[in-house]
Protein backbone atom coordinates (compact mmCIF):
# COMPACT_ATOMS: atom_id res chain seq x y z
CA UNK A 1 0.00 0.00 0.00
CA UNK A 2 1.44 3.35 -1.01
CA UNK A 3 1.94 5.91 1.72
CA UNK A 4 1.09 9.59 1.73
CA UNK A 5 2.75 11.29 -1.24
CA UNK A 6 3.88 14.89 -1.19
CA UNK A 7 5.51 17.07 -3.79
CA UNK A 8 7.76 18.82 -4.17
CA UNK A 9 10.13 17.57 -1.48
CA UNK A 10 12.09 20.82 -1.47
CA UNK A 11 11.23 24.32 -2.62
CA UNK A 12 13.28 27.50 -2.56
CA UNK A 13 11.59 30.78 -3.42
CA UNK A 14 12.09 34.48 -2.88
CA UNK A 15 9.86 36.34 -0.47
CA UNK A 16 6.60 37.70 -1.87
CA UNK A 17 6.42 34.86 -4.41
CA UNK A 18 3.58 32.33 -4.38
CA UNK A 19 4.14 28.64 -3.67
CA UNK A 20 1.97 25.53 -3.70
CA UNK A 21 2.33 22.10 -2.13
CA UNK A 22 0.51 18.97 -3.21
CA UNK A 23 -0.54 15.94 -1.21
CA UNK A 24 -2.05 12.60 -2.17
CA UNK A 25 -3.33 10.66 0.84
CA UNK A 26 -3.45 6.91 1.35
CA UNK A 27 -6.19 5.37 -0.75
CA UNK A 28 -9.46 5.17 1.16
CA UNK A 29 -8.47 7.70 3.81
CA UNK A 30 -11.24 10.25 4.22
CA UNK A 31 -9.44 12.62 6.56
CA UNK A 32 -6.52 14.76 5.43
CA UNK A 33 -4.37 17.08 7.53
CA UNK A 34 -1.81 19.77 6.80
CA UNK A 35 0.77 20.47 9.48
CA UNK A 36 3.50 23.08 9.83
CA UNK A 37 6.77 21.99 11.42
CA UNK A 38 9.23 24.73 12.35
CA UNK A 39 12.84 23.85 13.00
CA UNK A 40 13.29 22.25 16.41
CA UNK A 41 9.57 21.99 17.07
CA UNK A 42 6.81 19.47 16.74
CA UNK A 43 4.19 19.68 13.99
CA UNK A 44 1.26 22.05 14.43
CA UNK A 45 -2.06 21.52 12.70
CA UNK A 46 -2.98 24.04 10.01
CA UNK A 47 -6.14 22.50 8.58
CA UNK A 48 -8.10 19.25 8.66
CA UNK A 49 -10.43 17.95 5.96
CA UNK A 50 -13.19 15.40 6.24
CA UNK A 51 -13.61 14.39 2.61
CA UNK A 52 -13.81 17.73 0.78
CA UNK A 53 -14.96 19.77 3.78
CA UNK A 54 -12.51 21.78 5.88
CA UNK A 55 -13.71 21.01 9.41
CA UNK A 56 -10.88 22.68 11.35
CA UNK A 57 -8.97 25.60 9.82
CA UNK A 58 -8.68 27.67 12.97
CA UNK A 59 -4.86 27.69 12.84
CA UNK A 60 -4.58 28.53 9.14
CA UNK A 61 -3.39 32.13 8.54
CA UNK A 62 -6.10 32.96 6.07
CA UNK A 63 -4.60 36.24 4.90
CA UNK A 64 -1.92 34.41 2.93
CA UNK A 65 -2.61 30.67 3.23
CA UNK A 66 -5.29 28.74 1.39
CA UNK A 67 -6.04 25.07 0.88
CA UNK A 68 -8.38 22.97 -1.16
CA UNK A 69 -9.46 19.36 -1.51
CA UNK A 70 -11.95 19.64 -4.32
CA UNK A 71 -12.73 15.97 -4.97
CA UNK A 72 -12.09 14.71 -1.48
CA UNK A 73 -8.86 12.97 -2.44
CA UNK A 74 -5.68 14.96 -3.09
CA UNK A 75 -5.12 18.41 -1.66
CA UNK A 76 -3.16 21.59 -2.36
CA UNK A 77 -1.83 24.08 0.17
CA UNK A 78 -0.91 27.52 -1.14
CA UNK A 79 0.95 30.50 0.27
CA UNK A 80 0.65 33.86 -1.43
CA UNK A 81 2.73 35.87 -0.87
CA UNK A 82 5.39 33.95 1.02
CA UNK A 83 7.28 35.60 3.88
CA UNK A 84 10.67 34.78 5.38
CA UNK A 85 8.97 33.32 8.45
CA UNK A 86 7.18 30.73 6.34
CA UNK A 87 10.40 28.76 5.96
CA UNK A 88 9.54 25.39 7.50
CA UNK A 89 8.53 21.84 6.67
CA UNK A 90 4.93 21.38 5.57
CA UNK A 91 3.60 17.93 6.40
CA UNK A 92 0.54 16.20 5.04
CA UNK A 93 -1.12 13.33 6.88
CA UNK A 94 -4.16 11.18 6.33
CA UNK A 95 -6.34 8.86 8.37
CA UNK A 96 -9.34 6.62 7.78
CA UNK A 97 -11.77 8.98 9.43
CA UNK A 98 -12.75 6.80 12.37
CA UNK A 99 -14.95 8.35 15.02
CA UNK A 100 -13.27 9.55 18.18
CA UNK A 101 -9.61 10.27 18.81
CA UNK A 102 -8.21 6.80 18.11
CA UNK A 103 -7.82 7.47 14.38
CA UNK A 104 -4.15 6.89 13.50
CA UNK A 105 -2.59 9.54 11.29
CA UNK A 106 -0.04 8.56 8.63
CA UNK A 107 2.41 11.22 7.53
CA UNK A 108 4.05 12.03 4.25
CA UNK A 109 7.75 12.97 3.93
CA UNK A 110 6.98 16.68 3.93
CA UNK A 111 7.95 19.65 1.76
CA UNK A 112 10.85 21.72 3.04
CA UNK A 113 10.24 25.36 2.09
CA UNK A 114 13.01 27.94 2.15
CA UNK A 115 12.05 31.56 1.62
CA UNK A 116 14.95 33.88 0.73
Amino acid sequence: EAGVVQSPRYKIIEKKQPVAFWCNPISGHNTLYWYLQNLGQGPELLIRYENEEAVDDSQLPKDRFSAERLKGVDSTLKIQPAELGDSAVYLCASSRGLAGDADTQYFGPGTRLTVL
Binding site: V4, P43, V55, L91, D101, F107
Partner: protein, 112 residues
Amino acid sequence: AQSVTQLDSQVPVFEEAPVELRCNYSSSVSVYLFWYVQYPNQGLQLLLKYLSGSTLVESINGFEAEFNKSQTSFHLRKPSVHISDTAEYFCAASGGYNKLIFGAGTRLAVHP
Protein backbone atom coordinates in the same frame (compact mmCIF):
# COMPACT_ATOMS: atom_id res chain seq x y z
CA ALA B 1 -4.11 25.16 27.22
CA GLN B 2 -3.51 21.58 26.22
CA SER B 3 0.16 20.71 25.96
CA VAL B 4 2.69 17.94 25.63
CA THR B 5 6.14 18.41 27.13
CA GLN B 6 9.21 16.45 26.14
CA LEU B 7 11.70 17.11 28.87
CA ASP B 8 14.89 16.47 26.90
CA SER B 9 15.68 18.08 23.56
CA GLN B 10 18.66 15.77 22.99
CA VAL B 11 19.64 12.41 24.44
CA PRO B 12 23.09 11.02 23.59
CA VAL B 13 23.64 7.36 24.40
CA PHE B 14 26.09 4.61 23.56
CA GLU B 15 25.06 1.62 21.48
CA GLU B 16 23.53 -1.25 23.48
CA ALA B 17 22.80 1.03 26.44
CA PRO B 18 19.24 1.54 27.74
CA VAL B 19 17.42 4.78 27.01
CA GLU B 20 14.35 6.63 28.28
CA LEU B 21 12.73 9.53 26.47
CA ARG B 22 10.44 11.45 28.75
CA CYS B 23 7.01 12.83 27.90
CA ASN B 24 4.42 14.54 30.07
CA TYR B 25 1.00 15.74 28.99
CA SER B 26 -1.45 18.17 30.49
CA SER B 27 -4.31 16.43 32.20
CA SER B 28 -6.87 18.31 30.12
CA VAL B 29 -6.05 16.46 26.93
CA SER B 30 -7.63 13.17 25.92
CA VAL B 31 -5.85 10.08 27.17
CA TYR B 32 -4.94 8.83 23.73
CA LEU B 33 -1.15 9.06 23.48
CA PHE B 34 1.28 8.40 20.68
CA TRP B 35 5.00 8.22 19.96
CA TYR B 36 6.16 9.02 16.44
CA VAL B 37 9.71 8.64 15.07
CA GLN B 38 11.22 10.79 12.34
CA TYR B 39 14.35 9.56 10.59
CA PRO B 40 16.47 12.10 8.69
CA ASN B 41 14.70 13.44 5.59
CA GLN B 42 11.66 11.26 6.19
CA GLY B 43 8.14 11.81 7.45
CA LEU B 44 6.85 10.87 10.88
CA GLN B 45 6.15 7.19 11.45
CA LEU B 46 3.91 5.88 14.20
CA LEU B 47 6.00 3.95 16.73
CA LEU B 48 3.32 2.99 19.25
CA LYS B 49 0.10 4.27 20.75
CA TYR B 50 -1.96 4.00 23.91
CA LEU B 51 -5.72 4.06 23.45
CA SER B 52 -7.04 2.02 26.39
CA GLY B 53 -6.47 -1.21 28.29
CA SER B 54 -2.98 -2.26 29.33
CA THR B 55 -0.89 0.73 30.33
CA LEU B 56 2.24 -0.82 28.81
CA VAL B 57 2.41 -0.71 25.02
CA GLU B 58 5.14 -2.10 22.80
CA SER B 59 6.44 -1.54 19.29
CA ILE B 60 7.79 -4.14 16.90
CA ASN B 61 11.36 -2.86 17.18
CA GLY B 62 11.83 -3.16 20.93
CA PHE B 63 10.51 0.17 22.22
CA GLU B 64 7.88 0.32 24.91
CA ALA B 65 5.98 3.09 26.66
CA GLU B 66 3.95 3.13 29.83
CA PHE B 67 0.92 5.29 30.41
CA ASN B 68 0.96 6.67 33.96
CA LYS B 69 -2.21 8.57 34.71
CA SER B 70 -1.20 9.76 38.17
CA GLN B 71 2.02 11.28 36.85
CA THR B 72 0.49 12.29 33.49
CA SER B 73 3.44 10.69 31.74
CA PHE B 74 4.04 8.46 28.74
CA HIS B 75 7.79 7.80 28.75
CA LEU B 76 9.41 5.81 25.96
CA ARG B 77 12.02 3.19 26.80
CA LYS B 78 14.29 0.71 25.09
CA PRO B 79 16.58 -1.66 27.02
CA SER B 80 19.31 -1.74 24.36
CA VAL B 81 19.58 0.79 21.52
CA HIS B 82 21.16 0.40 18.09
CA ILE B 83 22.85 2.90 15.83
CA SER B 84 19.78 2.68 13.58
CA ASP B 85 17.60 4.10 16.37
CA THR B 86 19.20 7.50 15.84
CA ALA B 87 16.27 9.77 14.98
CA GLU B 88 13.93 12.40 16.37
CA TYR B 89 11.12 11.13 18.55
CA PHE B 90 7.86 13.00 19.05
CA CYS B 91 5.31 12.40 21.75
CA ALA B 92 1.75 13.40 20.91
CA ALA B 93 -1.65 13.45 22.58
CA SER B 94 -5.02 13.56 20.96
CA GLY B 95 -6.59 16.91 21.81
CA GLY B 96 -10.09 16.09 20.71
CA TYR B 97 -11.63 15.75 17.23
CA ASN B 98 -8.55 13.83 16.04
CA LYS B 99 -6.34 16.86 16.67
CA LEU B 100 -2.84 15.78 17.65
CA ILE B 101 -0.88 17.96 20.04
CA PHE B 102 2.85 17.30 19.61
CA GLY B 103 5.78 17.85 21.91
CA ALA B 104 8.88 19.64 20.65
CA GLY B 105 10.70 16.38 20.01
CA THR B 106 13.73 14.61 21.44
CA ARG B 107 16.74 13.93 19.28
CA LEU B 108 18.19 10.52 20.14
CA ALA B 109 21.83 10.15 19.10
CA VAL B 110 23.27 6.64 19.43
CA HIS B 111 27.05 6.50 19.39
CA PRO B 112 29.23 3.43 18.75
